[in-house]
Subunit: 196 residues, 2 copies
């Protein structure tokens, strides 16, 4: 009763999530995922028709948890919308110090699949980023910011830039710099009605 038997499929996705995020999709074999999930490769291929499908499932499973984390930081922050936006970056800079942190799984996967634009995993990444942008637009709009759609996109660009640059320099100062830039952009659209 209390021992809910974790479904095989979920065990596989959980194992794939840990390995793919930690090492990158290209450096993790299907055998490794099966072993981590505690079953054989044949069983994995019973539940997923290909590695590509498994990669897409991995990213689809990260969509909502990721957005929940960001929105949690946003809501927990005190102050006006400018402070709330900056809080996302502050928290990001904090967790990025953990050696287990390896950037954004969606962006890294898209980078690995740059030569396969239509790949299902890239599409999953695109959906996630759109979802996040839409959520942020709504928050900005609710706080009376001018041109929330444009601003949300600019903030997304700064955030994804911070993710990417961090993988090169490993310097959280870049995340904080992105947070300040985002705050500057929010300020430029607060109080005023339009910018140009």
């Amino acid at each position: 009763m209390s021992e809910a038997p974790i479904p095989t499929r979920k065990r596989i996705v959980d194992a794939a999530t840990k390995l793919f995020y930690a090492e990158g999709i290209g450096r993790v074999s299907v055998d490794a995922v099966a072993e981590k999930a505690g079953l054989t490769k044949r069983t994995l291929y019973y539940h997923f028709k290909s590695k590509d499908d498994l990669i897409a499932a991995y990213l689809d499973g990260r969509d909502q948890p990721n957005i929940r984390q960001m929105s949690g930081w946003f809501e927990a922050a005190e102050g006006d919308v400018e402070r709330k936006v900056e809080a996302i970056f502050t928290n990001l800079a904090r967790v990025a110090k953990n050696p287990k942190w390896k950037g954004c799984g969606f962006l890294r996967t898209a980078a690995e699949l740059a030569s396969m634009p239509g790949h299902p995993a890239v599409k999953a990444g695109s959906r996630h980023k759109k979802n996040f942008e839409t959520w942020l637009t709504g928050e900005l709009s609710g706080h009376g910011v001018a041109e929330p759609q444009t601003l949300a996109r600019e903030i997304v660009l700064l955030m994804d830039g911070a993710f990417s640059v961090m993988l090169i320099h490993r310097d959280p100062g870049y995340v904080e710099a992105a947070g300040h830039a985002a705050a500057t952009l929010v300020r430029a659209r607060s109080g005023r009605k339009t910018g140009s």
Copy 2:
């Protein structure tokens, strides 16, 4: 006399550059590079001690050409510094429409090597990004912008964000949005002496 025989090492790096950029470092075998260069793998290993070294050489070779392209766009643009900065993004959006365009090779390589932070290729990428940031700082400073160092870093973040997001959405609108955000940040630091 006029027939300068292209050195073997350069032929190898040229072949590696084309393949690594087009497919990603993990999807290109050493055999494939050797074949493209028109020699055997054993010869390649005579000139490079490992694939990792070859990857680093590929990125080192892209440092100056990349910066020259950016500075070329900057210098060719007419108008004030705000327009010149935006011109970089406008040109970027243009070339990004070419199907051969696969984002920033430095960022993509760093993403693939996220689990190996000290990798020589990641260091090469870090050097390049620093070089670009330094160049941009100098240009901004020369145009009398306040806090050129901070602004340069913010623009770099927007640019690298645009590179990364483009690989997910394949929508040049994001590059243009990044250009507008960069222009907004430049404007916030023009005419004034400081921002905070």
